[in-house]
Amino acid sequence: MGVDIWRYYGNGPSKVNISGGAEPIGLKLKTYDANNIATYTWDAEHPTPRPAVGNKNTYFATLALESDVLGSEIYSDIKFYSGGVPSVPDPNPSGYVAWTGVQLFVADDVDDVYAQALGTPDDNGTEMVAQGVTSSKTDLLATYNAGNMKSVGLVGGVASIGPLIAAQRISKYVRVQGSLGPTCAPGSTVPAVIYMRYSVTS
């Protein structure tokens, strides 16, 4: 399997590989978090309602890199960033809507302590600073890109890790959360892309 991005959810936590396989799952943000696939699966369940005033949040998603490559690799320099705010394509046969009124935040703090996302299902996720999983947050799509990557760090805060003797998480946890304002349009936003990058000693 190798190195992939995993998403952690529920109270265990449970986890799912979101970057591997022929058709990677990707990242679906909802107003829900429990030990079942409804947390991450691609469907219209548990949407985030558009607020009349203020903001509504998705539940935050917790991500990290894991590796099951044993006995050989040394990892370092794990980074997290985005491809920026995507434009609405022209033509637009899928009817995507712009990211107007929608933001994707990344927690400024990364750590090794899992916390399940809280909130009111089908309505509003608890904002991640308010939940206490980070002291502050940053607009991911507007801030972090290939020229300005966020350093994530390795599990345990070491400078490098490996060779591994068992499959394990190799990065710290990264948390992302969507936020909707009253100006957002109903529908599917233009697909955006986020990246995790790591170095392996050749």
Partner: protein
């Protein structure tokens, strides 16, 4: 180690003109510290036809890294992903490190040396980027469709 996703691999020339490669060694192996010339070469004719080559002057350390970039989608559908999938990194810096393979490159400021990257994109094309202090240069030669980039110290 050569992975099933690799498009290139490294070779290193040791003293007495013997060679080791990623087929059998990691660049963290103590033998790699004996290297005086390193090449990163295409695995096959289907790989991006570019080779990176550098001599290792006395007193310098070579760091080899492969950076992998994984993209995930937010939103339904296919995003526009213009990022490379793989970056082969060749970094040279004056000084000695006990275990160069365990040092994060981000912790080594470029003071006397160079950084070269061979970026491999999903659509199969490649790009080479080179930055250095003013005592190193990059030259490129094309022969039979293969671009060879040589990074040299100038005195």
């Amino acid at each position: 180690m050569i992975h099933d996703w690799d498009t290139h691999f490294w070779l290193a020339r040791l003293l007495k003109d013997t060679w080791i490669s990623a087929e059998e060694y990691s660049s963290n192996d103590p033998k790699f510290k004996e290297a005086n010339l390193v090449r990163i070469e295409p695995i096959s004719t289907l790989s991006v036809q570019a080779t990176l080559e550098a001599e290792i002057p006395d007193g310098y350390t070579m760091f080899l890294r492969t950076d992998r970039i994984m993209a995930i989608t937010i939103g339904a559908g296919e995003p526009i992903n213009n990022a490379p999938d793989i970056i082969y990194v060749m970094a040279l810096e004056r000084g000695e490190w006990a275990e160069p393979g365990k040092v994060p490159l981000s912790s080594i400021p470029m003071k006397n040396g160079f950084r070269a990257e061979l970026r491999i994109f999903k659509d199969g094309h490649g790009e080479v980027d080179f930055t250095s202090t003013n005592n190193f240069i990059s030259e490129v030669e094309n022969m039979n469709g293969l671009d060879t980039y040589r990074f040299k110290q100038v005195v």
